[in-house]
């Protein structure tokens, strides 16, 4: 199989002429510094020594973080910019879906724009005439084609741009993250069109953040990171490698955030009076504050409201038995740390399957919340609690030793506490963790409010907060087929 697109040791350096933006032509002339000013002051390598080849007839994915050089690579292939060093070879007519409708003029009609855009993309007038109806039908703009483009909605604009570009019948199609152009129906139509391209043996170079699309659709993929090629080959393997690296990065980021949050709370906390006042207010206003808090959570999303109310109802019913005001506090305060520190919590960590501290978990993984508590004087009245919150502040789960009917007897010196979760059945998202130790009446020893952040990752983009362990069962004449490549 021959390569249709070939990049050989391509480096692209963007120059920044930072100082010169304020200089005028006059001053440049007066100081005779025109030549010097035309020299770049700063260089930024968008791609460094990247080589890959796209075989004819394949669908080729390019993935990577923002700013990794994906779009630059695409522009080089399209010929819009030139490589600083190295060679880019392309065979056949290219159509680039980089920015849809880039050449549209707002004042003139859709019909005229189709012609001009088509000519810009390399079609002849006759070719456009032949395809005109097809283009208009594809864009679903039959009724509006004679209206000026400025009256179009952004969706209509994009659809028309997409329709023109796709009907150029290129041998090589370059796609840069443009599948989010229309409603569900139109997206499917675009995917169908891509599939048709594949069947006809055309080559597609796809730059996208949609990893599912790459896995499903591409024959091969490359992964760019900071302008360098990090992976190449089977899309599943490349995507997995990319995801693993993303997790690592997130781990590092979260470790840094958590360290910062804990550090700043240590500075302000330490059993000071304002902190006590916060708790006092929270405790007295508990019965009214509870529902208000759940209302606030409910504004985040409608499903969250129901879920937010559920755990909240628990402690309130317990309240009549005089229980767990400490838990209720979880719904009110902002992040921070307070308490008398007669008993202190230290070394809070989330432990993964391998027994190592981690910040990113997969849905369904076992997780242990582990921390140390130390009593400065022997204590008999203490309750240890934890709370899990999602990014919207909805409490996903909260419990404490008192609620679970463990009456405290004694704590002397230091002890290690592990809250082991066999299966972290949460949907993908960022979550925060509370840990606290307080008296039965709510008097706080040490309260760590939303100080610990972790992420749950999942391959399934299901909705809600909680993912119960489940399976689908069917009987009768019903069948499904697994997601196929190119479907």
């Amino acid at each position: 199989m021959t390569a249709v697109i070939e990049l050989v040791n391509v480096t692209k350096i963007y120059r920044r002429y930072s100082g010169r933006h304020f200089a005028t032509l006059k001053s440049a002339l007066l100081q005779r510094s025109i030549l010097r000013d035309l020299q770049p002051t700063e260089v930024f390598p968008a791609l460094s020594d990247v080589s890959f080849a796209v075989p004819s007839g394949s669908t080729f994915g390019v993935i990577g973080r923002n700013g990794s050089g994906k779009s630059t690579a695409l522009k080089l292939v399209a010929g819009i910019t030139k490589a600083t060093t190295g060679t880019v070879r392309v065979k056949g007519r290219i159509s680039a879906l980089i920015e849809l409708g880039a050449g549209f003029h707002p004042e003139i009609s859709g019909r005229e724009n189709v012609f001009i855009n088509g000519i810009m993309l390399g079609l002849s007038k006759r070719e456009i005439e032949q395809r005109f109806d097809e283009i208009v039908d594809f864009a679903e703009l039959r009724d509006f084609i004679d209206a000026p483009v400025k009256t179009y909605s952004s969706g209509m604009y994009m659809r028309l741009g997409f329709a023109v570009a796709i009907h150029v019948e290129p041998e090589v199609l370059l796609v840069d993250e443009v599948l989010a152009v229309g409603d569900e129906g139109f997206t499917h139509k675009c995917l169908d069109k891509f599939a048709e391209f594949r069947r006809r043996g055309r080559t597609i170079l796809l730059v996208t953040h949609s990893l599912g699309l790459v896995e499903r659709f591409c024959d091969e993929a490359v992964w760019l990171d900071s302008g360098r090629l990090r992976g190449e080959g089977d899309p599943r393997r490349v995507v997995d490698a990319y995801l693993a690296a993303t997790e690592e990065r997130e781990e590092a980021l979260m470790a840094a955030t958590t360290a910062k949050a804990v550090a700043s709370s240590v500075g302000t906390g330490a059993g000071s009076r304002p902190a006590d006042a916060t708790v006092g207010r929270a405790a007295t206003g508990g019965s009214t504050g509870g529902p208000a808090a759940s209302n606030g959570a409910g504004s985040g999303s409608s499903t969250a409201a129901g879920m937010g109310a559920a755990p909240e109802a628990g402690p309130r019913s317990n309240e009549e038995e005089g229980a767990a005001p400490g838990l209720r506090n979880m719904f009110q305060a902002d992040e921070g740390r307070w308490g008398s520190r007669e008993i202190e919590i230290t070394d809070v960590a989330l432990i993964d399957r391998a027994g190592e501290p981690a910040f990113v978990f997969h849905s369904g993984d076992p997780v242990a919340i582990r921390f140390k508590i130390r009593a400065h004087a022997a204590a008999a009245d203490f309750v240890i609690g934890i709370g899990l919150f999602n990014a919207e502040g909805v409490c996903c789960y909260g419990t404490n030793t008192h609620l679970e009917e463990m009456a405290s007897v004694q704590l002397v010196g230091e002890a290690q506490v592990t809250f082991a979760i066999d299966s972290l059945d949460l949907v993908e998202g960022t979550y925060k963790l509370d840990v606290a130790v307080h008296k039965r009446d709510g008097y706080p020893y040490d309260y760590h409010r939303l100080l610990y952040t972790f992420r749950v990752k999942s391959r399934t983009h299901d909705a809600g907060i909680y993912r119960p362990h489940h399976r689908w069962e069917f009987s009768g004449a019903i069948s499904f087929r697994p997601a196929e490549k190119g479907a």
């Binding site: 963007y14 005028t24 032509l25 910019t81 980089i98 880039a102 050449g103 004042e107 003139i108 000519i119």
Partner: protein
């Protein structure tokens, strides 16, 4: 460079559609629409006629009727100045195209020059109407020179437009500089005063250095003044210079081409 130049010719279909689009878009949405093309020069003609025959009567007996005389110079000047003002901005405002579509950038300034040339032609229709009204017939022999002047002006303007559009990408203040230079240039060219005026003749050498002098004088000789076309030498010299100028402008443009997609 020359292969790129050849490419421009391959894109003539696109240039054609873009010029048509430019003209259409300009008047789309206005009530009088295309009539504005005629109204503007008409208005200019009446204002200048009023000012320079009633308020400041012109002393030159040669340049009568004055409004008609001045119109012969103003029309090509408007073509020239509007082209440059629009073209200097064309790469910056067309940045979307340059950044996102594989597109020969030189088409943009060239389209501006051509669209304004079409406007110039519409203006000529008005001029023709007034030549008829004033019964001021140009010599048929001189009219042979008319397309020559137009072509030379086209080449000269296009060269300057390419140069300015490419430089404006890097020096945005060229736009402001240009509008001021054009104002000065307008009065430094024998457009509202005749070339044959003794005060002008005195500075003939200086005027000769102004390329637009030769264009304006040629238009006046052809369309307005009677007698054989007397400025052939100056015109042809400018013609030669224009070709050199165009190639020079295109060379600069070509050299800066790769920086456009990043700098606009």
């Amino acid at each position: 460079m020359f292969s790129n130049l050849a490419q421009v010719i391959r894109y003539r279909g696109l240039i054609q559609s873009l010029v048509a689009r430019e003209l259409k878009a300009r008047y789309r949405g206005s009530v009088l629409g295309f009539l504005w093309t005629f109204i503007h020069p008409l208005l200019l003609l009446s204002i200048y006629t009023f000012v320079f025959t009633v308020i400041l009567p012109n002393r030159s007996p040669a340049a009568q009727p004055y409004g008609l005389f001045m119109f012969c110079g103003i029309l090509p000047w408007n073509w020239f100045s509007s082209s440059l003002l629009e073209a200097s901005n064309s790469l910056v405002s067309g940045g979307n195209l340059i950044k996102k579509v594989l597109f020969p950038a030189e088409i943009l300034p060239i389209v501006n020059v051509l669209a304004n040339m079409i406007h110039f032609f519409f203006g000529l229709v008005i001029l023709l109407a007034f030549l008829v009204v004033y019964q001021h017939w140009p010599d048929p022999g001189d009219l042979v020179w008319f397309p020559v002047v137009v072509v030379i002006q086209l080449i000269f303007t296009a060269g300057l437009a390419l140069l300015l559009s490419a430089l404006t990408v890097h020096f945005r203040d060229i736009r402001d500089l240009l509008s001021n230079v054009l104002l000065f240039w307008f009065f430094a060219t024998p457009i509202i005063y005749p070339w044959l005026d003794p005060n002008v003749i005195r500075y003939k050498r200086l005027f000769d250095l102004n390329p637009f002098t030769h264009l304006a004088v040629s238009y006046q000789e052809i369309l307005f003044f009677h007698g054989p076309f007397g400025h052939a030498k100056g015109l042809l010299a400018l013609g030669g210079a224009s070709i050199v100028f165009f190639l020079g402008g295109y060379w600069v443009f070509d050299r800066l081409r790769d920086s456009f997609a990043e700098a606009v």
